[in-house]
Subunit: 171 residues, 2 copies
């Protein structure tokens, strides 16, 4: 996954505490392919899931997104759905770092939460640390250099490949 | 809530591990009224919830329904939505007992899970321990006498009232 610096798209909005059993049930952890995992992502929520989510680009969520059992497949499943970024009031720590490692842009921005609705169009500018929604701008904390570099390269695996190819990174 | 011995209605189907933060987020535990709690039940799942669920009568779920934080308001919120019963492959223990105490019929019946779809019509016969769906019958374990009595009276509070009114129950 090669991460764009500007991400634009349609929002699906969740509430708080969406956990990893909701994102991808434990019995599918035998899979590692984004496509296969995405077939079952959020399926526990009822008929029409996950298909419905494929018409959205960005997940916006409340507090503690990705809590529960730590599983990197939760991130992979979301990527498999074609979701380009997740914006939440806060993230579970392992989910957050798994997302960065997989190259999925993930942004803490509690200010925007109450302003957006399902289907709204937003633009994330990763370089400037801003989200644009209607006429408003919201700032989010800049990524530390190490994470920014992982995201730009498309995740930890790509970063390691770039190192093995002799690129000096300074970390 | 006065429990009918035959419960008939339309199914909404969830997957496994639907937890109490999904059923009713912790910040609403300041409420105890079924109507008020129901306004927020399952709202974290996205736009259209909980309104969508009001057109269904019976929740069918996979394993471990009601897991997570033990809160009796999870049951109250479901009652407030007008749901008449929950059928699941299995329940978290505290949710199960909270449901009986609140007079919400709750049935372990893993066999029916894969057979039903959203919108199907099912009938639960609490007296005979059977669920009817299309042309099939599924058996579920009979309630122990103590629980059956609580359900018949509409929950623990009604049971206690009946005792204070001098009724002998033998427990």
């Amino acid at each position: 996954m090669n991460v764009e610096k500007q991400i634009q798209g349609k929002v699906y909005k969740f509430g708080d505490n969406i956990n990893s059993d909701i994102i991808i049930p434990g019995r599918y952890l035998i899979y590692i392919e984004p496509g296969k995992l995405a077939e079952h992502a959020f399926e526990v929520l009822g008929e029409g899931f996950p298909a419905k989510l494929r018409s959205f680009d960005v997940l916006v969520a409340g507090r503690n997104f990705g809590c529960g059992s730590a599983r990197e497949q939760a991130v992979t499943a979301i990527i498999g759905l074609g979701i380009k970024a997740v914006v939440a009031c806060s993230f579970a720590r392992t989910f957050y770092r798994n997302a960065i490692n997989a190259g999925l842009p993930i942004v803490d921005c509690p200010e925007i939460y109450s302003a957006v609705n399902e289907g709204d169009d937003i633009t994330l500018d990763l370089a400037s640390g801003e989200i644009h929604h209607q006429d408003a701008k919201y700032r989010f904390p800049e990524f530390p250099d190490s994470m920014r570099r992982l995201l730009e390269l498309g995740g930890l695996a790509e970063y390691l490949k770039s190192q093995f190819q002799g690129e000096r990174t300074g970390y």
